[in-house]
Amino acid sequence: MKHVNDIELIEYVAGKLTASRDEEVREHIAACKECSERWREAAKMWNALGQWDVDTADHDVAERITALAKEAERGQQQHKIARDMQIGFLPAVVRVAASIIIAVGVGHQLGKYSVRGHTPRAAASENGPAYLAALGLEWSSELAWLILEDDSSNMGEER
């Protein structure tokens, strides 16, 4: 006669065997003195362990957890708003920066803003400024874009 092994005996006491296997073990225990005695000891031990009951009534953490989770949610939303604002401003900042760079670059090319900061003498005369003549250029309306407005406050002054 094959005895019930230890682990299966524990499962039998715990009521975790399948219905068919449970019936087989029960029949064996009824017929086997050794297994019957082992079953009694295991059942006593199982019941004794059940005496250690843990009462969680005074340890409700539900409200604390929900509050912490809501706080974390609020923090995440605020972080998202701040991030979205940064992202929204970025194109505008890039456009302004690009405009400045282009203006400085074009102006530098035109000689309007020299490295040393000199502003060239501006002349508004219809006959054209004297420096055109010095450059060997004859005044015409096509060169009007080269003519700078008179600004007596910084004429010839270093910036």
Binding site: A42, M45, A48, L49, Q51, V54, T56, T66
Partner: protein
């Protein structure tokens, strides 16, 4: 009469969508098990509450990525056990021996409340005196009702390792409790 209660997966789906009441439902449904498991492993209510709190916060954080590959409770218990392992590394164990706890001799089948409490303390001490892995296996098997396979999923142990631990643990407990001469017939 059919139940309108949503199951755990449905609650996790709602939580992932931002429904905080679903978190409350999950906590109320499972906190007793989480607390009792944490307490039995850590033997300290303060730490057990901290573990329970952190467990459910991790559930909340994982909601958006949660995919139900196993039972929700198996996943939940795995979080609890891992947090308990972390706590155990921090805390110094102060186990009380059976000799210090005293021995109760009980023959009668009906006990009063004080006697039951004393017996519970002795059983608690007997379980706490087990080697760590045996103790955890017994707690998950006897008190949380997990199957051998589920214990393996939660702890990472093989099924044969779980069975071996349980056999040795229950044999040790039988011996300890027999010495106490306590058995309710």
């Amino acid at each position: 009469m059919t139940s309108d209660k949503p199951n755990d997966t449905e609650l996790m789906t709602r939580l992932a969508a931002g429904d905080m009441s679903a978190l409350g439902d999950l906590v109320r449904r499972h906190q007793d098990k989480v607390l009792s498991l944490s307490y039995r492993v850590l033997r300290d209510w303060h730490r057990a509450e901290d573990v329970a709190q952190e467990t459910f916060l991790r559930v909340y954080r994982a909601a958006k990525h949660y995919k139900p590959k196993a039972k929700f409770t198996t996943w939940l218990y795995r979080i609890v056990i891992n947090l308990c392992f972390d706590e155990q590394r921090k805390q110094a164990k102060t186990a009380v021996s059976l000799e210090e706890a005293g021995q109760a001799v009980l023959a009668e089948s009906d006990c009063n409340a004080a006697e039951r409490k004393e017996v519970a303390e002795l059983v608690k001490t007997a379980v706490n005196e087990l080697p760590e892995r045996q103790r955890l296996a017994v707690i998950l098997h006897r008190y949380d009702g997990l199957s051998h396979a589920e214990i393996g999923e939660v702890t990472g142990w093989t099924k044969s390792a779980v069975e071996s631990l349980l056999v040795r643990a229950y044999a040790n407990l039988r011996e300890k409790l027999d010495k106490m001469k306590y058995f309710v017939e």
